[in-house]
Amino acid sequence: MQASTVQPVFKLELNHKVTPGIVTIAKYDGTHSCLTASAGYDKIIIHHPHGAIISGRAQRSQAHGEVSELNLSQAVIALAAGAIKPDCPRDMLLIGSPTQILAYDVHDNSDLFFKEAPDGVNVITVGHFGKHNERLVIVGGNSSVMALNWQGVEQFWNVVGGKVCSMVTFDFDKDGENELLIGCEDSYIRVLKNNQFIIELAETGPVICLSLISDVRFAYGLANGTIGIYEEGIRLWRVKSKQNSISLEWSGENLACCWANGRIDWRDGTGRVLRRVQMRSHAAAMLLADYRSVGASDLICVSDKGEVLGYPNTPENVSLTATSKRFPSEEDRVAITELLNKKQALLVELQHYEANSSSLTNKDMERPSTAMPTNTRLQVAIAADSEEKCLQLVVSTNNETIVRTALVLAEGIFDSGETLARHPQQTQLKSIMYIPLKPPRDVPVDVHIKALVGYADSEQFHIFEITKQLPRFSMYTIAPSRMKTQIASHVTFRITERVQRICIWINQNFLLDQEVELENEDTKDFNISFICLRDMSRLEMEYSGDGQVKFKTPDIRLAGDLIQSLAVYLNLTDLQVHNQPLLYNYLFG
């Protein structure tokens, strides 16, 4: 809670407004960093503090002597820079307008290439990818990614499930070649390797920032205010804020996060805030660059009013530790404050236990308004409800106490907000409570339940907290056997796995009253059919002894999700899938 502040090492004003997110830092002459930003609809400003005179199309700004302006006739959507030209250390500026990409050599005042992007431009990044030897310009569009070389020749192209919000090249599987991490608007982080998506990480909102940390870790930020860190595909931690993150950078040993409201905080390996600063206006960007030419990168924060602040990458507490031998430093005092916080919390807790035990001694007293039998337990179950077309979360106590209210916290499964609450009328209080859940997407969801238990007239309730994970395909329940309808659409593929493994996969990924079991060891064929609780559509799975698998469903997305989930479970890297009229229906029907 207590966080110390940090002083900037440099400060400057651009005297231009800066469009949030469209900022880059490049070395146009190969040695000196220049901050480049969009300053309104079609204007680009280049700050060159090291005196390199920029000639040609760029004009010296009226508002600031060290700033040049570059006017395009089209809106600027994205900016990026990189030394893409072979054997040339100079950075080229890449300007994305709604439908075009322009590569511009600022130093030589010449255009490198000009390319139409029919799918639109949202993000541009420059980096090595896969087996390509040269640095590529990778452009994220509305439903695709495209890579260009320095001459503007397309190197590859691929479809992405949703609008691309962020991209970064990263050696995800540690094979020495970079993969492309794509943050999509449909809440997935996808990893593209050699024209194939090798993994999809489901998140709870549009992924608007991605940033490298180390060779195994990366940080992400979502449009709902969540930021977090993944290590080898596993999320280490996440925290949620009201603000949106503009940018994340690994600075020193901490994750620096720049929020839209102009706050910058540094978090340690567990997400705890160590330091924070607040800029005077909203933030536009935060970048890591050696802007002072001192040989070490600084964290450069740009506000939307054009204020630029540089913070050292490693906090300068060397001088403080030197004096702390004799005089307690400020950090030490913060430590004392923290210790007292801890002491206070412990004292309060202890007081509660003491008061509790003292109330135990006089038993003849009337039941206090805060009481509950000590052996009260809370039981939680989840069951499919095909009448209400939902999952019923059942919360119940084991005695005469009642569940006054229950709060369910989960992300991405409620229409409004992040919680669902149930608060029965005073007269309808029971020791059991039903809470309907309708996850809209087939992703695993962590559901956190807080139930308040007591008596109807209690003034204070005991909080029971439970976290449950809903499996990925929890909205599919086993169909009654009498239902038999033909589903024409299906996908088929062949795997070489024992049927027992398929059963385990089903048990892990579906919510079943009873686990699926084979009749006997020798069973080779296996059929199961489900009903989707959302629209009562059918899903049938057939597994025959020769390894032929058939998923029958009218929903192509579900078929894809099932195959993806099964392939991940069985560790398959390559699977040949045939689909029957599914795709046709999807595209034309």
Binding site: E330, E349, H352, S416
Partner: protein, 643 residues
């Protein structure tokens, strides 16, 4: 130039109420000052600080909550006497901690504020100000609303005492000899006053801090009691305490607020009406209950602060902290390391103790002989304000432990707002009708205070009995219990300003409702409590009260005793031609029948003999602006018109 002060934590105590911390004057031998603090557990402690470590000089046993601590004013002969008020008692302590005085006063309610002036004692409790001289009650003055704070002044040429009293209906009054001398209305709603020491003791002049966060000056210039706002509220929280901070640079007014901010304003002592200059701001994160300046940790002045949850810390110039300047009471690193390790071992011991207690508690949950788990109530204070011009009613919640979540439930749809740091999430409806409000508020780590604004969405939804709101407060730490706060939003939320009954004599047009029937005063009080905000007078044989509308200025007067009651509503604003409703005229003549609704079934004081009808007061005025202002007044009684 702004001051650069840094926080040094000193000690912990129980929950503190505003103005329960005082710094003792300098004694002859030492330049460092002691301070006294009283807490909710009833413990009064006198401490000084040595090497940043508290040294306790005396400490009383727990008892009734201490709600106010005062030192005897230096003008009398009782210098260095400490007075602590708890409940209706006042105890006097010497510097050594010896009780030299203990009186049980006749005041009915808890003493909320106290003032010692020579041998005179002034107690504020509930709506009364009681004046004691030589421990004998001299007079008791009943105000229109709750008394918030009082200070005493000497009168020129005689030994009478003038009291400047702040009242919750945004009034400041001077009481002299048991009767009202002067009064003034202050829109900012002052909550605390303090007198600068530079003044002559007969000059009635004091700084106030307002509920809207503003700071101003109240002064008496014959023949009027005047006030001047010096610093606007600027969105900061309401003022909970004010104090003085004297340094070489001048005199400063220290202000502690409900939102946890502490500010220092430099005052020009030659011209108090000059705008004070803001010199320092610090955010402590929890409501500040006391703030004073004094030489606590070193020979130089620093600011001493107490918070609601019982943290006591100093704000000391940074140069004294970093130790660049050699000072006499040098605190070297060793002492600090010692303090830290002491604290760490203490916490380790507490952790062990807590773990064993927690274990014991949890073992209890598994035992086959169930006991009862009855943790004490969480320490939560809350306050619901009357409606503002937009119809918002604000509730401020402060908690001694940090909050995790709040869950709000209301049967009616409400509009709701909260602190920008907290995440408000509206839940989807429980059933298809969707007439309820279910919302959760997730707090940032360390949140101990929160405000919440609510207003009813549709006026047609307004029920006669008002709107009930349940707020479940879930703290972040152990033990895991949630306390419920039950709020009641009244039907006429705007009638929150208390008025004196003299307004009845005003020459203006009134509507009158007469009810007679077999009801008691208590029943009548219960009904009115659902209709109008704030506290009502206690049921007595004959009750009268007057309220005015915060926007329109119209008056509501209720008089009731057993069997009959009169309710007047004034048709015209209080001040003729007041700009609150320009050009409204007197439109009482038309269509009182509109909006009549039979609410007999809901009306609690319904009697066997009486025919009741509702009358929507809004329809009295045809003016659109009134209804747009969001007033939702319905008076559920038969009415007569009379002039």
């Amino acid at each position: 130039m702004d001051y650069d002060l840094t926080r040094i934590d000193y000690a912990l105590c129980g929950i503190t109420y505003p103005d329960a911390l005082k710094i003792l004057p300098v004694s002859e031998q030492k330049s460092q000052q002691k301070f006294v603090i009283g807490d909710k557990n009833g413990i009064l402690q006198c401490m000084s600080i040595k090497d940043e470590e508290p040294v306790i000089h005396f400490k009383t046993l727990p008892g009734k909550s201490i709600t106010s601590v005062q030192l005897a004013s230096s003008s009398g002969n009782n210098v260095d006497k400490i007075f602590a008020a708890s409940g209706n008692e006042v105890k006097g302590y010497t510097r050594k901690g010896k009780v030299f005085l203990s009186i049980e006063t006749s005041v009915a309610e808890t003493i909320t504020s106290m003032c010692v002036f020579g041998s005179d004692l002034v107690l504020c409790s509930g709506r009364t100000v009681t004046f004691y001289r030589e421990l004998q009650e001299v007079y008791c003055y009943l105000c229109d609303d709750r008394v918030l704070d009082a200070v005493a002044f000497a009168t020129p040429n005689n030994n009478r005492v003038r009291l400047l009293v702040l009242i919750a209906n945004k009034e400041a009054v001077i009481i002299e000899n048991g009767s009202l001398y002067k009064r003034t209305y202050i829109a900012a709603g002052p909550t605390r006053i303090t007198v600068p020491s530079c003044l002559h003791s007969t000059e009635v002049c004091a700084f106030y801090g307002g509920a809207d966060g503003s700071i101003g000056l109240i002064f008496y210039e014959d023949p009027d009691l005047l006030n001047k706002c010096l610093v606007e509220g600027c969105g900061l929280g309401s003022v909970m305490c004010v104090g003085w901070f004297y340094t070489g640079a001048g005199t400063h007014l220290a202000v502690g607020r409900h939102d946890g901010s502490i500010q220092l304003y430099q005052i020009n002592t030659d011209n108090l009406k000059e705008k004070p200059r803001l010199k320092f701001t610090y955010f402590s994160g929890e409501p500040v209950t006391s703030v004073y300046g004094g030489c606590i940790g070193t020979d130089e002045p620093e600011l001493l602060v107490a918070t609601f949850s019982g943290r006591i810390f100093g704000l000391r110039p940074r140069r004294l902290v970093s130790g660049n300047v050699p000072i006499s009471n040098i605190k070297n690193g060793d002492a600090f390391v010692l303090r830290r390790s002491k604290l760490e071992t203490e916490i380790a011991r507490l952790e062990k103790q807590t773990a064993s207690e927690r274990d014991k508690y949890q073992r209890n949950t598994r035992s086959i002989f169930p006991g009862i788990s009855a943790p004490p109530l969480l320490d939560i204070q809350f306050e619901l304000s009357g409606a503002t011009s937009n119809g918002w009613q604000e509730v401020k919640i402060i908690c001694a432990v940090s909050l995790d979540m709040l869950f709000i439930y209301c049967q009616n749809k409400l509009e709701i707002q909260t602190d920008s740091a907290a995440v408000l999430s509206l839940c989807s409806a429980q059933d298809t009708e969707d007439t309820e409000l279910l919302a959760t508020i997730r707090c940032q780590a360390g949140t101990r205070r929160l405000w919440l604004r609510m207003r009813t969405l549709s006026l047609s939804e307004t029920k006669l009995e008002g709107t009930r709101v349940f707020i479940y407060v879930l703290p972040a730490g152990a033990p895991r219990v949630a306390r419920i706060i039950k709020l009641h939003l009244p039907t006429l939320p705007h009638y929150s300003k208390y008025e004196s009954l003299e307004v009845e004599n005003q020459n203006s047009s009134w509507c009158e409702v007469r009810v007679s029937g077999g009801f008691s005063v208590a029943e009548m009080t219960a009904w009115l409590a659902e209709a109008i905000p704030g506290e009502l007078p206690r049921p007595a044989s004959n009750v009268a009260l007057a309220r005015s509308h915060t926007i329109l200025g119209t008056l509501l007067i209720c008089r009731y005793q057993q069997i009959w009651s009169h309710i007047w509503q004034m048709v015209e604003p209080l001040i003729p031609g007041s700009p609150a409703i320009p050009g409204s005229g007197s439109g009482y003549g038309n269509g009182g029948a509109r909006g009549v609704k039979n609410l007999r079934k809901r009306f609690r004081c319904q009697t066997r003999r009486l025919d009741l009808a509702t009358y929507n007061a809004r329809t009295l005025r045809t003016d659109e602006k009134v209804s747009r202002a969001g007033s939702s007044e319905q008076v559920a009684l038969e009415y007569h018109r009379f002039i």
